[in-house]
């Protein structure tokens, strides 16, 4: 068997039949981090130009990496998705070429020192991106890079395989179980749209702007809206804490 095949087999063995119908997707991310020697991993779903949500993450920091990209629309996964190639940042705190001004600071503050995004796709069919991060700066070795490519490929096939078993018109239960598709943000968009008598798309923009201006995670702002701790005033269009 060629080296690529061996690599793939090794990763599939680690998955050990997980990410199969009935089980969640978290193991996919855990194996992603394990196999590449990274501190954490996550898989983002994207479409059009934007993140749609998370298939899984290994934990808090990886979730933050994804939430930031979801809120800001910038970051390694966003770039990997838009440019259709791996995006590598081995030293987020002191980058060779500065990029992602809004993403980098909170990520570094959370302990991210190196971050990498790999497109998740099957041929020309694009699903999103795999993000890997390390709490120490440094580039991926050739081995790690090769493993990441195979992992991204397996992730794409696993997600589609899970969806293949879903009831028609619904997201697969396994994807719902460990995924985070930002439902609370969409609920909040609906509420703010009614509060301000604007469309839901505009309403999402308002929520993002509020999050950014107040330096708070979008999901947290959304939860406040849903819990009616935060309203948007029809008169001023501003958010007001209740």
């Amino acid at each position: 068997m060629n080296r690529g095949g061996e690599r793939r087999l090794r990763i599939l063995e680690l998955l050990g039949g997980q990410a199969a119908p009935g089980l969640g997707t978290k193991r996919l991310c855990e194996v992603g981090a394990e196999v590449t020697g990274m501190t954490g991993a996550g898989i983002m779903l994207m479409s059009g130009d934007i993140p749609r949500g998370s298939v899984c993450t290994t934990g808090g920091v990886s979730s933050l990496i994804e939430d930031l990209q979801y809120m800001l629309g910038e970051g390694p996964c966003v770039d990997a998705w838009q440019q259709d190639r791996p995006v590598l940042e081995p030293d987020l705190a002191n980058p060779h070429t500065p990029r992602w001004p809004a993403f980098s600071r909170p990520a570094v503050e959370a302990g991210v020192r190196a971050v990498f995004g790999f497109p998740v796709q099957v041929g020309a069919v694009r699903l999103g991106a795999l993000n890997l991060y390390c709490d120490r700066a440094g580039p991926l070795t050739d081995e790690q890079h090769a493993d990441a490519l195979v992992m991204a490929d397996i992730a794409a096939q696993a997600v589609l395989l899970l969806q293949a078993h879903a009831s028609p018109g619904h997201l697969a239960a396994e994807l719902e179980a460990d995924g985070d598709f930002q439902y609370v943000v969409h609920q909040a968009s609906g509420m703010v749209a009614a509060q301000l008598d604007i469309g839901v798309g505009q309403s999402l923009v308002r929520l993002r702007a509020y999050s950014f201006a107040n330096n708070r995670p979008l999901a947290q702002v959304a939860r406040d809206v849903v819990a009616r701790r935060l309203r948007f005033d029809a008169g001023t269009g501003d958010g007001r804490q209740e």
């Binding site: 099957v122 020309a124 879903a166 609906g190 839901v200 849903v226």
Partner: protein
């Protein structure tokens, strides 16, 4: 052009289809034409298994051969069918001496002018998707180098076809995934809008949407979209079940 160069060019041509826009029939016709040019055979034909499992002729280097292959399929016998079923090459069959092996195929082949027949499986690892049929007018053995070259051409075509199918299926699943996620998003947005307008929590809003959908035999996502667009007013939506009939 020397034979090796022709073979190399044919392989590159086929490999090109792996990255370019893909037409299966075009690929297979190309394959059969190149076989005749490069391999010193007189005719080539190719069959692929349909979803139901029966072999269908997909391409041939001549119309006369096509008829022959149609016959082969109908008769349910012949080297091509054997190669497909067993997944192994069936080569150097001198039709004058295979007495009894393919009782209906052989006389038809000889009548068409062919005296030597070979079939190579189109396979990748465990999957056999069809077979490549090669015909000679003169009896005699096909050189091993030519058999190997033919198998290479068949192998590339197999990879291209399987890859294309995989991508098509992936595309379909991705669309389903996207559609399912879009529906979910719209439902959550509608919950929020209804909750705000009617002073409800999310569970209550969801129940109202579901009730309305049931009462009107509509899909939940469609109801949600109408609420978002304003086509369905929030006031009183889904408040009551339909009255029981006496």
């Amino acid at each position: 052009m020397p034979r090796e160069a022709m073979l190399a060019r044919a392989l590159v041509e086929l490999a090109d289809t792996l990255v370019a826009d893909f037409d299966v029939v075009e690929l297979l016709t190309l394959l059969t034409d190149r076989c005749v040019e490069v391999l010193d055979v007189d005719a080539a034909g190719l069959m692929l298994a349909a979803p139901e499992g029966d072999l269908r002729v997909m391409a041939s280097s001549s119309e006369a051969l096509r008829l022959l292959e149609l016959f082969e399929l109908q008769a349910q016998e012949g080297p091509c069918l054997e190669a497909y079923r067993v997944g192994l090459p069936v080569v150097n069959q001198d039709l004058a001496t295979v007495n009894g092996r393919w009782p209906r195929f052989v006389p038809e082949a000889i009548a068409a002018g062919f005296h030597s027949v070979h079939a190579l499986p189109m396979r990748l690892r465990g999957s056999v998707i069809g077979a490549l049929n090669l015909f000679h007018i003169e009896p005699g053995l096909m050189r091993q180098a030519d058999i190997d070259a033919a198998q290479s051409l068949a192998d590339i075509a197999t990879i291209a076809i399987l890859q294309h199918r995989a991508v098509q299926e992936a595309q379909m699943l991705n669309e389903q995934l996207s559609h399912a996620l879009n529906s979910r998003v719209v439902i959550e947005q509608a919950k929020g809008m209804l909750a705000e307008r009617e002073g409800l929590n999310m569970e209550q809003a969801f129940a109202r949407l579901r009730t309305h959908a049931r009462n009107h035999n509509a899909r939940l996502a469609d109801v949600a979209r109408d609420v978002i667009s304003g086509a369905l007013p929030a006031a009183g939506l889904g408040r009551t079940l339909p009255p029981r009939h006496a």
